[in-house]
Amino acid sequence: MVATSDTGLNQRINVRESDQAGQSLGESVISLRDVTISYGSYDAVVGVSYEIPKNKITAMIGPSGCGKSTVLRSINRMNDLIPGAKVRGTIEYHGVDVNHAGVDPVEVRRRIGMVFQKPNPFPKSIAENITWGAQINGFKGNKKDLVEQSLRKAALWDEVKDKLDQSGLSLSGGQQQRLCIARTLAVNPDVILMDEPCSALDPISTLRIEELMRELSRQYTIVVVTHNMQQAARVSDQTVFFSLSDKRQGILVEASPTQQLFTKPKDQRTEDYITGRFG
């Protein structure tokens, strides 16, 4: 048991030094405005509004069942696959409402990629895992280069370069997750959504993914749902805290630059959560 002092939040949670702490996080890529998501007649998340800044990492934290993943999955319309799921309010991607009748969810998902909680490589070779998504989207270039580039970006190349024709499922959990990230990068998205990408991984694999996320945020906008507050504090630029209302519906409590949220939370509920008095 590691002793933790309660003297200050900074000591309890090592918050990443951000040069933009307290300032605006810049141009936003995605804006959620008054988003309510329901399954059938049940509203799972109510009235969520926040901005997702470009080339930054936004972390979504909160207790189980508060709708973090639901919100994340509605950004690239993965919730369309769940019968009865319905989104009200607007989710704008570069000013375009992703739920507008004229918008094809297939196109949305190509631009807003997703990495899942459990690594889910295709039961194909490592190389095919990378090329498939690009090919269905009309990629005509050199496949070898695409495989190498994508695997390098995902910091996996050195580990798998000699076994590209082996099954993606022969890799370890952490490698599989990086393969899934590489596969997402290969279709050249703009935003990457990650749904608890490290929850099935050991601490070392987790650290590698976190480093990778920092690296990728230079080029991509990343949104990550995590159960792990330390992870949110370590990697993200902005943290969004969700909680449950009295009616057991998910609500957004606070969206702030990460350093601010963990050191000077605006809301009492946020403070209770991050200091461990709740959740």
Binding site: M78, V106, E107, F122, P123, K124, W132, I136, L169
Partner: protein
């Protein structure tokens, strides 16, 4: 490492009663015994059946049975009888049944599992498919007679092997749909999500990922049901198959006389030699079935190798 002493059950708090472990072990042993008995019983019946047929038919079995085309008592007695017509008719039936029922059945299963909205129409279709799989086969024979042989009274396909194959196709269609649905349902949804998240269309997700992953299950189910169909006698009898025909079908609109029907026809004759002839026919039929199942296994293994779990 110190070993952990095992506390007598009676000393564990809240478990004051004497241990129930001996009783649990007895129940377990009884269960295991019952399952072994069930397995042995099933195997024994199968072995008895096979032994009896082999014993009865082995004397009449020779290569001429595959090439001779007559099944009359005279032909049996002077050694010129054979199942050529039956074998070729049955192969035609398998081909037509498979060509009709597999694409339609798998297609329907894909629609129901991957595309169909969850509404009353889908539910009605689903319930009907399940019910149809339990309808007696002779009813399908009547349906085939009324729809394929003559289309509501108008001459259509006649008493052709095509009409018979389509009839058997209808018979196995619900079973194929259900088997294929089960196989599709067994594909983890994480695989579909992975593909959708890369910007794949529903068709690309189904064709590139879901179908290959489900293929071995689909093949097992479909080929088993088609193999079952060739053993059927009643529906083809009703739908116009001939019992005594010497000319094997050479195109889909020819008449036919499938192997099980020829066997049945020989069995009901009083002569001992006819019964022996029938037993030999059964052996041929089983060899045919075994071959079909073997093909199924090969196809399944090949489908399995394409998916690299």
């Amino acid at each position: 490492m110190s070993s952990v002493p095992i506390t007598p059950d009676s000393e564990i708090q809240g478990l004051g009663a004497p241990s129930n472990l001996p009783r649990r072990k007895v129940v377990g042993a009884i269960g295991k015994g019952a399952f072994i008995a069930a397995t042995v019983f099933a195997a024994l019946i199968l072995v008895t059946l096979l032994a009896r047929i082999l014993f009865q038919g082995i004397g009449a079995l020779d290569m001429d049975l595959l090439t001779n085309r007559f099944t009359s008592n005279n032909a049996i007695n002077n050694g010129t009888a054979g199942f050529r017509t039956g074998i070729i008719s049955s192969l035609w039936l398998v081909l037509i049944t498979a060509a009709f029922a597999i694409p339609v059945g798998v297609g329907a299963a894909i629609y129901l599992e991957e595309y169909a909205p969850d509404n009353w129409f889908t539910k009605v279709v689903q319930v009907n498919v399940s019910n149809l799989s339990g309808v007696p086969s002779v009813v399908y024979g009547l349906l085939g007679l009324g729809v394929f042989v003559s289309f509501f009274g108008f001459n259509f396909l006649g008493r052709s092997v095509l009409a018979g194959g389509l009839t058997l196709g209808l018979l196995v269609l619900p079973i194929i749909i259900i088997a294929a649905q089960e196989a599709l349902r067994a594909v983890p949804s994480s695989l579909r999500e992975a593909a959708y998240a890369l910007g794949a269309t529903p068709w690309q997700v189904t064709w590139h990922h879901v179908l290959p992953a489900a293929m071995s299950g689909i093949l097992t189910g479909t080929i088993l049901s088609v193999a079952r169909a060739i053993g059927e006698t009643a529906p083809v009898l009703v739908a116009g198959a001939a019992t005594a025909i010497t000319l094997a079908p050479s195109d889909p609109l020819d008449g036919y006389s499938p192997l099980p029907l020829q066997v049945f026809d020989a069995l009901v004759r009083p002569q001992a030699s006819a019964k022996e002839f029938a037993a030999a026919g059964i052996i041929i039929m089983m060899a045919l079935l075994l071959t079909l199942n073997l093909i199924a296994i090969v196809l399944r293994e090949r489908a399995n190798r394409k998916v690299r779990w």
